[in-house]
Symmetry: C2
């Protein structure tokens, strides 16, 4: 059993990799990221490759091994890809297609979990499900959708068994999350946790899909072990900013909600603040889950990444 | 006004190019194909580039000019792409994306007509329309769908005004059409025209979408001049093999239907012989048309390509 993780030092990648390292049943891991090997990934079972998946030499180094399970998470974030679509294409599309092509040429018919995104949808009013016709409104989403199609085609060809997992904005990203339009969701949670004032760029009634890093990793791991192939929409809690702020007061034990001021930016509100209901009955039947409650979402979101493995 | 045509020596490309050459209002054409310049394309207004769009040098030569209108027709046919998906990717996907990226970098915001295909759909029972969720059952169709998405994204970015035109199998292709699973439709028409015996690989009741080369070119030209952007499904006649054979007897003046024998191949019948109704009301409203009747389809299909310009 050998596992490949791309984007292994990223927000989701590092949490996932810690989970894998924490599992004694996982004998060998190849981890790829632009970042150097972090101290917590010093385990001998981890071969760390520092570089981009769009670099041929890195790709060659990856494929010194064959893999049974692949988590393909690396990507250029949406706002950056929108500004630099050539970079977006090279990393998010071409390198992903190269990776799938290389995997298809191996003898193992690997399980491939592809981190897709809700960026494949356009803003809509009705409930959104994996059957909603994708109509990407940003280049990042267009590339994600194209890779989903390529993965489905490799699966049809019998070269791998692929599942594309559409992730919502996952909370709470550490630090300033440049390039992520939904960064305010994480910033809000961190500010509330720290008891610091926060100026929210969407209104109290702005509605988003909320999923914690703990639940995201749990779902990705689940995607790796089930047999189902295709494209799935991860469950997430459908909550307003106010829902989260109020629940936070209960969880935190202190009423800090007055620290949150609202100065809605119409562009951010329109793109990230009007999410409709999710219809994820199929995904729940497959065993995918959201955080269960606002209180659990907040606890899970503020769990330090290094605690996830434990 | 400068027009680019890729795949200009192909079955559809050559018919389209003849139409363009025949139009004195078209001042300049750049035509690209793997084949050498044909004698009929000797017009001084035509710059002919012999080579593949997947060749950087050819791409550089194309972009010595800027374009107002682009017909992107070149592709590796479906059966060949299925056997050699890397070749399919290089020509049908990567080269198409490169072409769009180069067009996006020009200053003219060109009109781009992309020859997509009904290969984006999976076999289905209900009426098919451009809103039917694409689910390609061959790699060729997966790549076509991916380019549709890329073209829509470039259009959204304001870099071009793109229209993806989903073509059915167009009749009647000359000679042995290797690589096209639907080749039997053209072979049948040629055999009937020549009064030769034909062994049909689908049953008399097999139902397909029929569109002649004359109507295909007319629709592509129309796509070039209207303002509508997005993905459209071309109208086509929904006919059984028997419908065509019987109508042929009337058109041809002789009853040659007895020359047709049926030896259905289950694989071909399943893939190419069970097409459902088309729902193309939107496309008809935009001015796209089928051949109008079986009799006209047959006449248009058997029009020699070199007569189309006339």
């Amino acid at each position: 059993m050998r596992i490949l993780v791309t984007g292994a030092a990223g927000f989701i990648g590092s949490a996932l990799l810690k989970s894998l390292i924490g599992d004694p049943a996982v004998p060998e891991i190849v981890a790829v990221d632009l970042a150097e090997r972090p101290a917590w990934a010093a385990a001998g079972r981890v071969r760390w490759l520092c570089g981009g998946v769009d670099d041929c030499a890195v790709m060659d180094a990856i494929f010194r091994d064959e893999f049974d399970l692949v988590f393909h998470l690396s990507s250029v974030p949406g706002a950056l890809a929108e500004k630099d679509p050539r970079l977006g294409r090279r990393v998010n599309l071409d390198a992903s297609l190269d990776l799938l092509e290389r995997l298809a040429a191996t003898s193992r018919c690997p399980r491939v979990v592809y981190a897709s995104s809700i960026a494949v949808y356009s803003p809509s009013s009705g409930p959104v499900s994996s059957r909603t016709p994708p109509r990407p409104a940003i280049t990042y989403g267009a590339h994600k959708r194209m890779v989903e199609i390529a993965l489905a085609d490799h699966t049809r060809r019998g070269e791998m068994t692929g599942i594309s997992v559409r992730l919502p904005g996952v909370v709470a990203r550490p630090g300033p999350a440049t390039g992520f339009g939904s960064a305010f969701m994480s910033e809000l949670l961190h500010a509330l946790a720290a008891g610091e004032p926060y100026c929210c760029p969407v209104s109290p009634g702005a509605t988003m899909w909320w999923l914690s890093i703990v639940a995201a990793v749990k779902n990705l791991m689940h995607a790796g072990v089930i047999a189902h192939c295709g494209t799935i929409q991860l469950p997430a809690l459908h909550l307003t900013v106010e829902d989260v702020v109020e629940a936070f007061a209960e969880v935190g034990g202190t009423v800090r909600t007055s620290l949150v001021q609202y100065r809605p930016d119409e562009r951010i509100e329109a793109t990230f603040g009007r999410f409709p209901e999710l219809d994820v009955a199929d995904e729940r039947a497959l065993g995918f889950t959201d955080d269960g409650s606002v209180a659990k979402l907040i606890r899970n979101a503020l769990t330090q990444a290094n605690e996830i493995a434990g």
